[in-house]
């Protein structure tokens, strides 16, 4: 079992301060729990951690990723706390990868400062480190956004973002 913040990741020493966090591109080993969801599939429960500065107000954001249709590879996560960073795909507060073991995966981001967050996730099914696109820039691998908005392009931050005041659970359905 990996406890919150106990991930043996060389990048973790750089986790402070919280708003400039980058977990980098390393694949982070996490605990895998077997769940019975009625479909004999596994639920990979993954815990990412942020070292908190404001413990009193910090909250957890749990994300259930559904509909991972291709086997293997990794999920690539980016969490943003502003419309500008989200739009430019720059300086996410969290950037991480997690292995894909099943059609459903749960990730908990611990001790986030209160705020408004938007999540982008894609399934790097062939593990080449990027979201494959064609010549028109159209994604060819699975992806999703918080609130499951957006069609033929990512939703605006206002549509993708979720307020985090206390512990919160969201679902993202990969498309």
């Amino acid at each position: 079992m990996v406890s919150a913040g106990g991930t043996p990741n060389a990048q973790n020493k750089h986790l402070n301060p919280p708003l400039s966090l980058r977990l980098g591109q390393a694949i982070i080993p996490h605990r895998i729990d077997e769940w019975d969801n009625g479909m004999k599939s596994f639920l990979a429960a993954i815990t990412l951690a942020i070292q908190p500065l404001q413990l009193a107000q910090a909250a957890d954001l749990s994300i259930l990723i559904e509909n991972i249709t291709d086997p293997g590879g990794a999920l690539s996560w980016s969490v943003f706390d502003s419309a500008e960073t989200y739009k430019n795909d720059r300086s996410p507060v969290i950037e991480a990868r997690s292995r894909v073991y099943a059609a459903t995966t749960q990730v908990t981001l611990h001790d986030l400062p209160p705020g408004v967050y938007a999540v982008k996730v894609f399934h790097d099914a062939n593990s080449n480190g990027k979201l494959d696109r064609n010549i028109l820039g159209i994604p060819l691998e699975g992806y999703g956004f918080s609130n499951n908005k957006g069609r033929f392009g990512p939703p605006a931050f206002a549509k993708a973002s979720v307020p985090l005041e206390g512990d919160t659970q969201i679902r993202i359905r990969l498309r």
């Binding site: 064609n134 010549i135 159209i138 499951n148 957006g150 069609r151 939703p155 605006a156 359905r173 498309r175």
Partner: protein, 482 residues
């Protein structure tokens, strides 16, 4: 943000309300509505009853594609563009004609078949509980055309990849991949062949919102990608077909413009913008370089006839509609088996383009001809054009006749089957015979007719019919027996 969404959302909401009328027929739906009932499973080989003698050049197979699966789990598509594509094969041998139909096994069909319900919106229908799609390919129903390329059939859509189909078994062989970077890139439904058998095509990514683009392709006769080009568009006009000349590819960026939004279907997002001139986009075949853009009055065209060059003038024919109402309203009403009007009042027009002077004359030929067919052995000769006719005056808004016209002299011949028939796209076989499928909706029969091309007015010389009713389809090809 919210206010902007509202401003964007309002016109599309109105368009949607307009496109999905509540009107119903006062009594029973008219008999032609059976052409939009759809089928739900593959159709096993069935011998047809035949009257007349089969001319030797007509031994072979008429392949057709069209929307066929209209409903699952109590939900029904509301636009003719949407049902899953089914390949129909009519195999003509000396002693019998056999029909077979098989759905193209698209990624979408397999997913929805496994789920037992529709999962995604169509190009023109919203599905309740629709899941977000990964990309345009998720929506691919491969339902517009089927053409022989090399020794395989391509089941063609227009907003995504073609699917490969075996001509003998009609089994789906997979997605046609031209190259890695072209995965999922639109490959339109009307590839054209030049004098040496090369295949040319466009792909319209007009759904790409603020960044619409046109892709140009050259494919070898054997089916290998030779070159392609991506061209940015000034606006996202609907483009279904294009014009191929000895030296140029010409696309018509129509004034039916898509403003894809999150909440609307592709068709629902298309708005007719008469104040926006349409554009002839001229590309050099050798380089695929953009040569010129020539503005023409706002128009809407699905299909073009063949083109020829006369001195410095490029000439071709087009089936022109006054606006996009047939696509946005008429095709929805037909699929919903609802009363018209269907807005299928098209006119065949002749384009004469002086490329040096960037001047284009457009002359109406005063006939309604859709689904144009010509002798593909001479793609760049001025020649008679064949097609289906009568849609502007029929109760269903669909063709009841076949016709032939010389676009230079205006000489025309026509055979009208009358109001009980709907005539589908004809194929010209060896220059001598015209073959087309039809629906006899009063008697409840689908069939294929063959006429002598030089004597259309005499009517069919062969009729093959069956009590199996096929959904009305779009396009296909005739492949002569080896």
């Amino acid at each position: 943000m919210r206010r902007r969404d509202f401003l964007i959302g309002l016109p599309t909401a109105l368009a949607a309300a307009h496109a999905l009328p509540r009107a119903v027929f006062a009594e029973l739906p008219p008999s032609w509505a059976i052409g939009f009932a759809g089928v739900e499973s593959d159709l096993a080989p069935l011998p047809m009853s035949v009257q007349g003698r089969l001319p030797a050049p007509c031994q072979g197979t008429l392949f057709r594609n069209g929307p066929a699966l209209y409903q699952r789990a109590g939900q029904r598509y509301g636009h003719w563009f949407d049902p899953d594509g089914m390949i129909q094969a009519f195999r003509f041998a000396a002693d019998q004609v056999v029909h077979q139909g098989r759905f193209v096994r698209t990624e979408r069909l397999l997913k929805e078949s496994a789920a037992g319900r529709f999962l995604f919106n169509g190009a023109g229908s919203k599905i309740s509980g629709a899941m977000p799609e990964r990309n345009n390919e998720t929506l691919n129903v491969a339902n517009i055309n089927v053409q022989l390329v090399g020794d395989e059939l391509l089941a063609l859509w227009e907003a995504g990849s073609a699917y490969r189909v075996d001509p003998d078994s009609l089994e789906t062989l997979g997605v046609q991949h031209w190259s890695k970077e072209l995965a999922g890139v639109p490959f339109s439904a009307h590839p054209r062949t030049d004098e040496s058998g090369n295949l040319w095509n466009i792909g319209s990514a007009s759904f790409a919102g603020s960044n619409p683009r046109l892709v140009l392709y050259q494919i070898s006769a054997a089916g290998q990608l030779k070159k392609f080009r991506v061209h940015p568009l000034d606006f996202a006009g609907y483009m279904h077909d294009f014009i191929l000349t000895p030296r140029y590819m010409i696309a018509l960026n129509s004034s039916a413009i898509s403003t894809m939004t999150e909440s609307e279907t592709f068709v629902g997002s298309v708005k007719w913008m008469p104040e926006q001139p349409s554009q002839l986009l001229v590309f050099d075949r050798q380089t695929l370089d953009h040569v010129k853009t020539i503005e023409v009055p706002a128009t809407f065209v699905f299909h073009f006839g063949n083109a020829w060059e006369d001195q410095q003038q490029l000439e071709w024919t087009a089936c022109a509609y006054p606006n996009s109402n047939f696509m946005t309203i008429g095709m929805a009403r037909l699929a919903q088996q609802q009363p018209g009007p269907y807005y299928s009042d098209l006119t065949l027009v002749r384009y004469r383009l002086d490329l040096n002077k960037s001047r284009c004359q457009i002359e109406p030929l005063d006939v309604d001809l859709e689904f144009p067919a010509f002798d593909r052995r001479a793609p760049f000769s001025p020649q008679p054009l064949y097609g289906a006719s009568g849609s502007g005056s029929s109760a269903s808004g669909l063709a009841t006749a076949v016709m032939r016209i010389d676009p230079r002299s205006g000489d025309a011949q026509r055979y009208d089957y009358g109001p009980d028939y709907i005539v589908e796209e004809p194929q010209l076989i060896g220059g001598d015979y015209l073959m087309h499928s039809f629906l006899d909706h009063r008697r409840g029969r689908s069939g294929v007719a063959i006429l002598r091309a030089a004597a259309l007015a005499d009517g069919p010389i062969l009729l093959a019919e069956m009590e199996r009713i096929l959904p009305l389809g779009f396009h296909g090809c005739f492949v002569a027996a080896a």
